[in-house]
C-alpha cells in the first residue's frame, strides 16, 4: 500500500522532506516515523499508519509534498511478526539502519536507553518520533502528575495545565524523556486532529465574580486568531461604505429563481454578488492583486477566484469559487451551494480553500450588517454585505419604498488609493443597481 501524507493540522498543506528516516527493505512498526517534514508551522515526523516493510521510497529529501501525496510503498502483510519485533529486547535487531544523523540521537531518550542495555550492538534503532505517543495506561486526572515522576519543568507543567494536557500522556522529546513546551503543543495539535475532547482542558472553577470555565483553543481557532491578528495589525484598512438599491436586483432574482430551481440550482444573492465583484475587479485590477513588499512589486492576477466566507460549527472557513469570470450564474450557483455544504461537513479539499484573489463575506443570511470586514492577506480587498432593508428613498419628488443594501468594501491602503477604492465600490453599486446593464456592457 502507498503511505500518503496525512492531514497533519489545519493550515498545513504540505511541506518539504527534510530527511528520510527509513530505508527500502526496512521493517517498520506502526507509529514509527517514516520521514521528517518541514512545514511552515513546524518540523513534523510522519508516522507509519501500520507495521510493514518499506518496499519503495517515493520521495527524496528536498521534495515538496502535499497532503494526499504518496510517500512510501509499504507492504503491510507482515503485521503480526512486526509487532513482536517491537519488544524492547528485539528492537535493535529490527532496525537495520543506524541513524544517519548522530545529532538526532541526543534528542531521543529511547535511543539512549537501548544503547545502555546493549553497548556492543552496532545497530541502533531509529529514534522515536518527536511526536507524543499515547501511553496505553488509562487517562488519569491531571492531579496525579506531581513529583519527580514526570520530567517537565514547572513552566511546561503550567502550560500543560492551561491547555488541559495530562503530562503522563505526553512523551518527552528531550534526553531523559524531558517534556518541552513544544512537546505539549504538538500533543494538543495531535489531540485536536484526532478530535478527542480535552476533557481535562475544560474545567469549571469559581472566582469572586461567579463561575468560569476554561477550555483549550481548537487549532482552527488558533489559526484564525493568528491570521486575524496579522491581517489587522499589518494591513492599513480603509473601509468604504456605500448604499446599493437592490430593489431591481431582487425583482430579477424573483423572476429567475424558479428557472434556476428547475435546473436544480438555487440562485442566491451571493452568486449575483460574485458576478458583480468580478466585473468591478476587471475594471480596477489593483483590487485583484497582491502586494510583494519584499521585492517591491505588485502581482496583478489575470484570474478571478473569489473566496466566500462560510460559517461552520468549527469556525469560519473560506472556500474559493475558482475562475468566476469563466462561469455563468448557473454554474456559480451550483458550485457555491456544493462548496458551502461540503465546507460545513469539513469534506472540502485543500485546493478548494486556496488561491482566492478577493473575498466576499455575506452576513445577510444571519440578518446582520453592515459591518467592517477584515482583509484576508495576501488579498488586498474584501466585500462585506449585510441584510438589505426596506428604506424610504426620495425619488421624483416623493418617498418610495426601496430595498437598500449597505455594503462595505475594505481595501489595503498601501496599494489602493482612496479614489480607486471609492470608484471600485461605486462600480459594484452600479452593477447591483442595474444588473442587466453589466451584460449590455454599460
Amino acid at each position: 500500500m502507498n503511505v500518503e501524507l496525512p492531514f497533519l493540522a489545519e493550515g498545513i498543506e504540505g511541506g518539504d522532506v527534510v530527511q528520510l528516516l527509513v530505508r527500502e527493505g526496512e521493517q517498520v512498526r506502526e507509529g514509527q516515523s517514516l520521514i521528517e517534514l518541514e512545514t511552515d508551522k513546524a518540523t513534523v515526523p510522519v508516522p507509519a499508519p501500520a507495521a510493514g516493510t518499506v518496499v519503495r521510497l517515493l520521495v527524496r529529501p528536498g521534495d515538496h509534498v502535499t497532503v494526499g501525496q504518496a510517500l512510501i510503498d509499504l507492504d503491510g502483510s507482515e503485521d503480526e511478526p512486526q509487532k513482536a519485533k517491537t519488544f524492547p529486547s528485539e528492537r535493535s535487531t529490527a532496525a537495520p539502519a543506524p541513524n544517519p544523523d548522530p545529532r538526532e540521537k541526543a534528542g531521543h531518550a529511547e535511543v539512549m536507553e537501548h544503547q545502555e542495555h546493549e553497548p556492543t550492538h552496532p545497530m541502533t534503532p531509529l529514534p522515536e518520533p518527536a511526536q507524543p505517543a499515547v501511553e496505553p495506561k488509562p487517562r488519569t486526572a491531571p492531579t496525579s502528575s506531581a513529583g519527580p515522576g514526570i520530567p517537565a519543568p514547572p513552566s511546561v507543567r503550567r502550560l500543560a495545565r492551561e491547555l488541559g494536557v495530562d503530562l503522563s500522556q505526553v512523551k518527552g522529546s528531550e534526553a531523559g524523556g524531558r517534556i518541552t513546551a513544544d512537546d505539549v503543543k504538538v500533543f494538543v495539535r495531535e489531540r485536536t486532529k484526532r478530535g478527542a475532547s480535552p476533557s481535562a482542558g475544560s474545567s469549571t472553577y469559581s472566582t469572586p465574580y461567579g463561575s468560569e470555565r476554561r477550555a483549550s483553543l481548537p487549532s482552527i481557532r488558533r489559526k484564525i486568531a493568528s491570521n486575524m491578528t496579522q491581517a489587522w495589525t499589518t494591513i492599513p484598512h480603509v473601509h468604504q461604505f456605500q448604499d446599493a438599491d437592490i430593489t431591481d436586483l431582487m425583482a430579477l432574482h424573483k423572476r429567475y429563481a424558479p428557472e434556476f430551481k428547475k435546473k436544480g440550482a438555487t440562485l442566491t444573492l451571493s452568486s449575483l454578488f460574485l458576478k458583480a465583484i468580478v466585473h468591478a475587479l476587471k475594471l480596477y485590477p489593483q483590487l485583484n492583486a497582491t502586494l510583494d513588499l519584499t521585492n517591491g512589486e505588485v502581482i496583478y492576477k489575470d484570474y478571478y477566484n473569489i473566496g466566500v466566507a462560510v460559517d461552520t460549527p468549527d469556525g469560519l472557513i473560506v472556500p474559493v469559487v475558482h475562475h468566476v469570470d469563466q462561469k455563468d450564474l448557473l454554474q456559480i450557483s451550483l458550485e457555491l451551494a456544493d462548496l458551502a455544504e461540503r465546507t460545513r461537513k469539513r469534506a472540502i479539499k485543500l485546493e478548494e480553500l486556496q488561491g482566492a484573489t478577493f473575498t466576499l463575506s455575506n452576513m445577510g443570511g444571519i440578518g446582520a450588517g453592515p459591518f467592517l470586514p477584515i482583509i484576508n492577506p495576501p488579498q488586498v480587498g474584501i466585500l462585506g454585505v449585510g441584510k438589505a432593508r426596506m428604506t424610504p428613498v426620495y425619488r421624483d419628488g416623493q418617498f418610495v419604498p426601496r430595498r437598500v443594501l449597505q455594503l462595505c468594501v475594505a481595501y489595503d491602503h498601501r496599494l489602493i488609493d482612496g479614489a480607486i477604492g471609492a470608484r471600485f465600490t461605486n462600480e459594484l453599486v452600479k452593477v447591483l443597481e442595474d444588473f442587466q446593464g453589466m451584460f449590455l456592457g454599460l
Binding site: 514547572p154 534526553a175 531523559g176 524531558r178 474545567s203
Partner: protein
C-alpha cells in the same frame, strides 16, 4: 467596616498565611489577614525558623572559635551574656515582623488581630483584643499552622520541662539537658545548648537520628554529635518524667531494661500537631485526616468549596517554604488562575553542624518502592574546598534514574549543605540529567563543585575521585 465582606480572609499570619494574603491582594482581591498574635510572622518568625537559626548562628561562632585551635589560633573560653544574647534574637525577630507588617500595609491588606472561628462557610467570628465581631468572606484560607506536641506521659506542670517555644527563650543554660526526640528540632536546639555549655543527652525511640533521612547522610552528623553531646541514646524511650527539687528524673527503657537519670531541664521535641482545634470546622463540610490535618486537594481547596487551607495545618512536610508555596497557589486559584501545587521536590534542611539537606527522592524511599535508581556519591574528603575548611566529613549524593541519569533526588551532609541543596531542587524541577549537571561549570574552589563531581560519576569517574569500573 465591620460588616463588610472580604474577597479573601486569611486566618494565620505565618509564612503560609501572609504569602497568601499578599498575593491575593496583588491579584486585586480585597483581603484580610487575621492572627491572634499581635506580631505577624507565625511560628516561623516568632518561635521557629528565625529564632532557632539566629541561635544556631551564635552557636556556630562558639564552635568555630574552638576549631580555630587547630590553626594555632587560641581564644579564651567565651563569656556569654544571656541578656544581650536574647535581646539580639528579639531585635532580629522585631525587624522581620515589622517588615511583614509594612508589606501588608503597602499592599492594602487589612491586618486584624483576633482569634478567628468559623460560624459557617462564609462567616468568621472574631474574638480577642478587638471587640468581638463577625466578618464575612467569599473565600477563606486557613493557615493556622501547628503546635509542639507533648505526650501525656511527659506533661509536667514544671517550667523545667520545655517545648521548642520555651527552649528558644533561653531562660538559662542548664548544666544537664535531656532532649527527647532525635528529629531536626531536637538536634538543632541540642546543638545550641551544647555550644552554650550544657551537657546534652539525646534520646530517640527509633534506631537512628533523623529517621526519614538516608542513613549515609546522617552518619557524619551522628559522629560529630557523638563527640559533642554527652550521650545519644537510640532505641530508647522515656517512660516518664518526675519533677524533683534537684532535677527532673527521667525513666528510660531500652533493650537493657529501665534506668533513670537526672537532668536540670528537659526539651520535649517529639513532633508537632496541626492547629485545628477551636476553629469551628464542625460548622462546615471540612474534613480532617486521621492525623488531624485538614483535607485539601492540589489546589489547596478543603472539602468546603469556599475554604482553602495551607501550610503545617494540611500536612507534612511541615516547613515554611512549603507553606509559602501553598499560600501562593491558594491565592492564585481564588483569583481564577489554573494553578496547582505540583512541586517535584521540596527541600528540607537540618541546620545542625554539619548540616543535612535533601530534596526529591531519597535512596531509602527508592529502595522501599522498588524503583531502579543509581546512586552517585562524592565524599568531601576529595573536595579541595572542604579540606581548606577542615570539614571533610561531608558527603554529596544524587539519586538518579538508572537509565537516563535524570536527577530524582539529592542529599548532602556537610557545612553549608542548606545553601547547596537549591541546585538539586532546580535540577529535579527542570528534569535535568546527571550529564547536564556535570556539564555546568561550577566555581572553584567551592563546595558546590561536589555536586558537579557527583554528577560526573554517573557516566564515568569524577576528576577528583577514582571510581573503578564495575564489570
Amino acid at each position: 467596616m465591620a460588616e463588610s465582606r472580604y474577597d479573601v480572609a486569611v486566618i494565620g499570619a505565618g509564612p503560609g498565611g501572609y504569602t497568601a494574603a499578599f498575593h491575593a491582594a496583588d491579584l486585586g482581591l480585597r483581603t484580610a489577614l487575621i492572627d491572634e498574635d499581635p506580631q505577624l510572622g507565625g511560628t516561623c518568625l516568632l518561635r521557629g525558623c528565625i529564632p532557632s537559626k539566629a541561635l544556631l548562628h551564635a552557636a556556630r561562632l562558639i564552635t568555630e572559635a574552638e576549631e580555630a585551635a587547630a590553626w594555632g589560633i587560641q581564644f579564651d573560653k567565651p563569656r556569654i551574656d544571656l541578656t544581650v544574647f536574647r535581646d539580639r534574637v528579639q531585635t532580629i525577630i522585631g525587624k522581620l515582623t515589622k517588615g511583614v507588617r509594612t508589606l501588608a500595609g503597602s499592599r492594602k491588606v487589612d491586618v486584624i488581630q483576633g482569634r478567628a472561628m468559623l460560624k459557617d462557610a462564609t462567616t468568621l467570628r472574631l474574638s480577642g483584643s478587638d471587640t468581638p465581631r463577625e466578618l464575612s468572606f467569599a473565600h477563606a484560607i486557613f493557615a493556622t499552622g501547628s503546635q509542639p506536641l507533648t505526650p501525656a506521659s511527659l506533661k509536667l506542670d514544671d517550667p523545667r520541662v520545655m517545648d521548642s517555644t520555651s527552649a528558644l527563650q533561653l531562660t538559662d543554660i542548664p548544666a544537664r539537658l535531656l532532649v527527647i526526640g532525635g528529629g531536626y528540632i531536637g538536634l538543632e536546639l541540642g546543638t545550641v545548648y551544647q555550644a552554650l555549655g550544657s551537657a546534652v543527652t539525646v534520646v530517640e525511640a527509633m534506631p537512628r537520628l533523623l529517621n526519614s533521612v538516608d542513613a549515609d547522610l546522617v552518619r557524619p552528623l551522628h559522629q560529630c554529635l557523638q563527640r559533642r553531646f554527652k550521650a545519644i541514646r537510640l532505641n530508647t524511650t522515656v517512660e516518664r518524667l518526675e519533677a524533683r527539687e534537684e532535677g527532673l528524673v527521667a525513666t528510660f527503657t531500652d533493650s537493657q531494661g529501665a534506668s533513670t537519670e537526672t537532668f536540670d531541664r528537659v526539651l520535649v521535641a517529639v513532633g508537632r500537631s496541626p492547629s485545628t482545634g477551636r476553629l469551628g470546622l464542625e460548622h462546615t463540610q471540612i474534613t480532617v485526616t486521621s492525623k488531624g490535618f485538614i483535607h485539601v486537594d492540589r489546589q489547596m481547596r478543603t472539602t468546603e468549596p469556599t475554604i482553602f487551607a495551607i501550610g503545617d495545618v494540611v500536612g507534612e512536610p511541615m516547613l515554611a517554604h512549603k507553606a509559602t508555596h501553598e499560600g501562593l497557589v491558594a491565592a492564585q486559584v481564588i483569583a481564577g488562575r489554573q494553578t496547582v501545587f505540583d512541586a517535584a521536590a521540596i527541600p528540607a534542611v537540618v541546620f545542625t553542624d554539619p548540616e543535612i539537606a535533601w530534596c526529591g527522592l531519597t535512596e531509602e524511599t527508592a529502595k522501599a518502592s522498588g524503583q531502579v535508581v543509581k546512586v552517585a556519591r562524592f565524599p568531601w574528603a576529595a573536595s579541595g574546598r572542604a579540606t581548606t575548611l577542615g570539614r571533610t566529613e561531608g558527603l554529596t549524593k544524587l539519586i538518579l534514574d538508572a537509565e537516563s541519569g535524570r536527577v530524582l533526588g539529592m542529599g548532602l551532609c556537610g557545612v553549608g549543605a542548606g545553601e547547596l541543596i537549591a541546585e538539586g531542587v532546580l535540577a529535579i524541577e527542570m528534569g535535568a540529567l546527571a550529564e547536564d549537571v556535570a556539564a555546568s561549570i561550577h566555581p572553584h574552589p567551592t563546595l558546590s563543585e561536589t555536586v558537579m563531581e557527583t554528577a560526573e560519576s554517573f557516566s564515568g569517574s569524577p576528576t577528583h575521585l577514582f571510581v573503578p569500573k564495575r564489570s
